[in-house]
Amino acid sequence: MISLAVSISIEAFQRLVILYPLDLRREFGDDLVEVFSQQIETAWEENAWRGIAGAWLNVLADYAAVALPCLAARLAVPVLTAVISSVWFTLALTAINPSR
């Protein structure tokens, strides 16, 4: 019987797969989940809760290495656009009404 902790972990990972880059998910979405499932099952069998914690720490490091740079690149353009727009809007308002 698969432990509840393992089932919850797999369920959580399935939801968090969305954090990985789109092209990786499209090509290897099922494989990512399958590898994590095997990893977490082995971790539970070998070290119970410590194993589960270790496997999740490994996944967090993985997100930092793979998902975060991609997310940062995706957010860079909209964030920069918002910052430039705000600065431009402030400068425009100052030019229209310099006393304020």
Binding site: L24, E27, F28, D31, L32, V35, D62, Y63, A65
Partner: protein, 130 residues
């Protein structure tokens, strides 16, 4: 004393740009040099071959596989070529001819580094490389 390592292999520029290989790429090729494997087996093999110093998460593993497939260093086996019936669902990978050449060249490069370290008597005490 320095000895300039000579490369006898003529590799494409896009492969040359990868060298020296990152630990993830090197150990993935190393794992597959021992025979065809599916994703989880590659992950376990990398852990063992690196004495637990390289731990790949699912994303790192498949990003590496995706990259190596793209530049033809590894290839995916078609289902009918897979050895076991139970493995049909899983994707199985193996080293390509080019992948084997790149792996061999990296091993030669590391060997040359080790020779230099030995020549200069710089191997740490207690090291397995002594």
């Amino acid at each position: 004393m320095l000895v300039k390592p000579k490369s006898k292999l003529d590799l494409p520029d896009e492969i040359r740009a990868l060298q020296p290989l990152t630990p993830a790429v090197f150990y993935t090729l190393f794992a597959l040099a021992n025979g065809e494997k599916h994703g989880y087996a590659i992950m376990q093999s990398v852990k063992g071959l690196s004495n637990d110093s390289v731990r790949m998460g699912p994303g790192t593993l498949y990003t590496t596989i995706q990259r190596l497939l793209k530049i033809d260093l590894i290839e995916e086996l078609t289902p009918r070529k897979r050895a076991e019936e139970s493995e049909r669902r899983r994707r199985v990978y193996r080293l390509s001819g080019l992948g084997r050449r790149v792996f061999d060249e990296e091993v030669s490069r590391l060997g040359a580094v080790l020779r230099q370290v030995r020549l200069n008597k710089l191997i740490p005490r207690g090291s397995e490389a002594r």
